[in-house]
């Protein structure tokens, strides 16, 4: 963290801020009038103009473009406090590692053609980070700071779907690209979609598609299942997708029960579950709530003969659950013991730096930094609309496998990793909470642009 | 040497100067009465002796048994041998009669309590039985909450609980006759007389001049925070000028 930079070009803030707001307000036509204004702002900045700055390409100023000086800022923003912190801390490490590799080579940068290991384009990359605390208002303030004061070109990170959705309009408004991570709710690439926001990670629907493709093999064909879900957009998206897709596989949903957000007592839902007596429980929750729920089921003696499926599994749920989560089935964006060469390269680099096995959260953010940079290299500019267009048809294949963004909803079509919780002793031994059960191909986990949630996406403008 | 000696005591309630140089003495075995109208400073004198706060004693000395007790905490004053029956009795109304009495058995110091229990104790106060003998009505009511007692019973309980304290050498009573019917006043005064006869020194604060002087050996009259008169009960009874300090 010692190399974080917070020094900013004084005077430039006014200009860039004005640029953004005027563009939002009066559209592109006003931008021309403002170019001069921006120039004035530069006058009292640090003045070390860079060949790749204003002069090199002919794009009008937009967002935090053009970059002044020879350093481009990246942002990471995710939970470092609150119950989501375990994933946030991993993400931050992955992020810092990625920046290091971009500037100095190493890790997957050495195995990814568009990247040189000597910055991006001709810029050195610096970064800022912010703690979302899992809270929407705090996040808005933080991201505004990163955009306004630190002039970030893009940011990634985050866990909470609520926070992610609150930030998407800011990405659009400020013309700064956001690559989401982990956030799973349907609307992020549905009704809430924005041109400047991309989701490389799974959506609730992607996970459900993958589970529909594997669960019958794992748990049987003629299965009664029950759903307990968190009563907010993440839980509801998953519930709807699971109902539709599992029933499509011939499974039979025999009941549902909602948990209020923030509620740690699940006794009533467990009572419903016990009464329904299903074969499988689909438990859409996260964080300590999942740990609470599973431990309360065990304590009530209902967990023994029911298989539990938690559509999204990650450190923030697995860490508090400890050994209780043994046998729980779900999906993840990546698995450290996937066994391919690139994953091993990443794992080695990460272990060298931090002396622990990375989880999906660490890799995902690492990957986001890399593939965004690759898109910039391919586009030859940081100009946000150009980079957005580049990303919309971007394909890449690093440690997660074959990935590609879809233009219709900015959801990545991607492989999904179906995993299972392991016992506490195995956790100690392997350093990971999950074992990889099956890798589901992009074809089997994707859905068409004309079905929900993608069907509700009305993409916003480029400039 | 006097048992209790006040020497030019000045006490304040916040900024208000209430006792303006009170000096008085109580000899061992005496019954001394402190007279004066409401607001004259009688209760403040008692509270100053007891080390209660407020008031704040800013100058002067209070000696008891030869020791300076001016700056002692209330509980230490009590344990040095002074018992207090405060104005309005201040019983613990939600506690039973017996619990009110039992409280006095607990001393400030746990080790003393233990020592007394295993028979190594200092001379202790009266036992419950002795108290019930003195105030039979309390035994009948021992399971009752103190708040439900009549005024006279409450006053007896308030006196009785001080007798259960160990080592009482001086008993200070603040208006024990207040609000009581005449025949009850007499019972209370008789009880005080009995206690005094057993050798306890008594400092009696009273508005009821007649009752007080009947009992007392000597008296002080307090007005505007100063002693304006002192003398034997006999002298006080015959002093006509005192009317202005005491009543209509």
């Amino acid at each position: 963290m010692g190399n974080e930079s917070h020094t900013q070009e004084n005077g430039a803030g006014t200009a860039s801020n004005s640029r953004r707001h005027v563009l939002k307000a009066i559209g592109a036509s006003g931008a021309v009038a403002l170019a001069g204004c921006a120039g004035e702002g530069n006058g009292n900045g640090n003045g070390t103009g860079n060949g790749n700055g204003n002069g090199a390409d002919d794009h009008a100023p937009i967002g935090n473009y053009p970059i002044e000086g020879d350093t481009a800022m990246y942002g990471w923003h995710g939970p470092l406090s609150g119950i989501l912190a375990p994933d946030g801390e991993e993400q931050e490490r992955g992020f810092e590692l990625a920046i290091d590799h971009l500037n100095n080579g190493g890790g997957l940068v050495d195995h990814y053609d568009p990247l040189s290991g000597d910055g991006v384009l001709d810029y050195e990359i610096d970064y800022v980070t912010g703690d979302s605390a899992g809270d929407e208002e705090t996040s808005i303030d933080n991201v505004e700071r990163m955009i306004d004061r630190d002039n970030i070109q893009f940011w990634t990170g985050g866990v909470s779907s609520g926070v992610c959705q609150a930030l998407q309009p800011i990405a659009q408004r400020e013309r700064v690209i956001q690559l989401t991570s982990i956030s799973h709710a349907g609307p992020i690439t549905g009704e809430n979609c924005e041109r400047y926001s991309f989701r490389p990670s799974m959506s609730a629907r992607t996970s459900a598609e993958a589970l529909a493709a594997t669960l019958p093999d794992l748990l049987g064909d003629d299965v009664d299942f029950f759903q307990i879900y968190l009563d907010y957009s993440y839980g509801i998206s998953n519930r709807d997708s699971m109902t539709e897709l599992m029933e499509g596989q011939g499974w039979n949903e025999i009941g549902q029960s909602a948990i209020a957000f923030g509620e740690s007592d699940h006794s009533s839902q467990i009572a419903d579950l016990d009464e329904a007596d299903p074969d499988v429980l689909v438990f859409t929750t996260f964080g300590t709530a999942m740990a609470d729920g599973i431990s309360q089921m065990q304590e009530a003696g209902v967990a023994e003969d029911i298989d539990i499926v938690v559509p999204l599994l990650s450190a923030f749920s697995m860490e508090p659950a400890g050994g209780d989560a043994e046998g729980v089935i779900g999906t993840a964006n990546w698995h450290p013991l996937r066994g391919d060469e690139l994953s091993e390269t990443f794992v080695d680099a990460y272990m060298d730096e931090y002396d622990e096995l990375p989880g999906q959260a660490a890799y995902e953010v690492y990957d986001n930094v890399l593939h965004y940079s690759a898109a910039v290299e391919n586009a030859g500019t940081f100009h946000p609309p150009t980079v957005v267009r580049e990303l919309e048809e971007f394909e890449w294949n690093l440690a997660m496998g074959e990935m590609a963004y879809r233009e219709c909803d900015h959801q990545a079509s991607r492989p999904v990793y179906v995993c299972r919780g392991v016992s506490e002793s195995e956790q100690q031994e392997t350093g990971t909470y999950l074992e990889l059960v099956e890798e589901v191909s992009p074809e089997d986990s994707s859905y068409d642009c004309d079905i929900e949630p993608a069907a509700s996406c009305e993409m916003s403008e480029y400039e | 040497m006097s048992l209790l000696e006040l020497e030019d005591v000045h006490s304040y309630y916040g900024h208000s100067h209430i006792l303006r140089g009170v000096s008085m003495e109580v000899e061992e075995g005496e019954i001394v009465s402190l007279l004066g109208r409401n607001g004259a400073g009688k209760t403040t004198t008692l509270r100053s002796i007891a080390g209660a706060e407020p008031p704040e004693v800013r100058s002067g000395h209070i000696q008891f048994n030869g020791t300076d007790i001016t700056d002692l905490e209330t509980e230490d004053v009590i344990m040095s041998g002074i018992a207090i029956v405060p104005e309005e009795r201040r019983l613990f109304s939600n506690l039973t009669v017996e619990e009110n009495l039992e409280l006095s058995r607990i001393s400030q110091n746990t080790w003393n309590t233990i020592r007394r229990k295993i028979g190594l104790s200092d001379p202790s106060g009266k036992s419950l039985d002795e108290l019930y003998e003195l105030f039979p009505v309390l035994e009948e009511r021992k399971e009752q909450q103190a708040g439900t007692l009549s005024g006279g019973e409450q006053q007896m309980l308030s006196i009785a609980r001080t007798l259960r304290l160990p080592n009482v050498e001086l008993l200070m009573l603040d208006e024990p006759s207040e609000g009581l019917a005449p025949q009850i006043v007499e019972t209370v005064m008789n009880a005080i007389e009995t206690i005094a006869a057993e050798g306890t020194t008594v400092l009696l604060i009273e508005q009821n001049v007649q009752a007080a002087l009947e009992l007392a050996d000597r008296g002080y009259v307090l007005d505007m925070g100063s002693i304006v008169y002192e003398g034997t009960a006999e002298e006080l009874r015959n002093e006509d000028d005192l009317d202005q300090y005491l009543t209509v």
């Binding site: - | 208000s16 409401n38 607001g39 609000g179 508005q207 007649q210 009543t247 209509v248």
Partner: protein
């Protein structure tokens, strides 16, 4: 004319009857003192009349209005003022502000919507405050925080607040307690002036018998919640029941 009248006024707390079927009458422009030993029920009586307590039984009539059940501010607005036994003032406000609170109440009633009008524009309020402060001789202390006044001055401020509410009938609870002889004399003069110059009716609860017998037109003696005597100072001075209530039966 009878200004204030209580009928059968009773207040009990649990089993204790603090005020027992008390019937008193106060004539206009009269100065009535209520005396009695500690615990006789004097404060309870005042509290019942001024609305701090609700009577268990009985009525309080003031100029044909029944006060029972009314809130203190309503009773004050009807013209019944009160000063408290302990200096009930606003310690962190200045002396002038202390009295201003009461002056506003007198000038503009119990509630008005004037939060956008500056209070230094109310000349009548200033005048009323100045008058009250002058009466108690505190005008030089107007800008001093009340907390820093000596005790006697606090009591006078307390009286000034009572005065500024513009009462026709003023209850004064031990106005001279804690005062020096000089202050006591000043207060006595003040009470007399209020009665003669302002035509106020005053009910005084007081332990200083000099004052009581000096200024009262009528004295009520309360003992254990009941009125045991009622008459002119001379009548009371010679009343045997009163002496025994106070002294325990026998003349000293």
């Amino acid at each position: 004319m009878t200004l204030l009248q209580t009928r059968n006024l009773t207040k009990s707390f649990g089993g204790l009857v603090a005020v027992d079927t008390v019937e008193i009458e106060v004539e206009e422009n009269e100065l009535v003192s209520v005396i009695g030993p500690n615990g006789a029920g004097k404060s309870t009586l005042i509290n019942l009349i001024t609305g701090m307590l609700t009577p268990t039984d009985g009525d309080v009539l003031y100029r044909d209005t029944n006060l029972a059940g009314k809130d203190p501010y309503e009773i004050t607005q009807l013209g019944i003022g009160r000063s408290f036994q302990t200096a009930s003032i606003f310690p962190e406000l200045t002396v002038q502000d202390n009295v201003d609170v009461a002056s506003f109440a007198a000038e503009q009633g119990s509630f008005t919507v004037n939060f956008l009008r500056r209070r230094d524009r109310y000349d009548s309020v200033r005048q009323r405050t100045a008058d009250a402060l002058e009466l108690v001789d505190l005008e030089d202390e107007a800008d001093v925080p009340a907390a820093s006044l000596p005790y006697g001055d606090k009591r006078r401020l307390e009286v000034a607040i009572g005065l500024a509410t513009d009462p026709d009938l003023l209850f004064m609870d031990e106005p001279t307690a804690g005062m020096s002889p000089a202050e006591t004399e000043m207060t006595t003069n003040l009470i007399e002036r209020m009665q003669t110059e302002r035509g106020m009716t005053i009910v005084l609860v007081e332990h200083d018998m000099d004052i009581v017998f000096d200024v009262s037109d009528k004295i009520l003696v309360l003992h254990r919640g009941e009125i045991i005597a009622d008459g002119t100072p001379d009548e009371i001075r010679n009343d045997e029941t009163v002496r025994s209530a106070y002294l325990g039966g026998e003349e000293i």
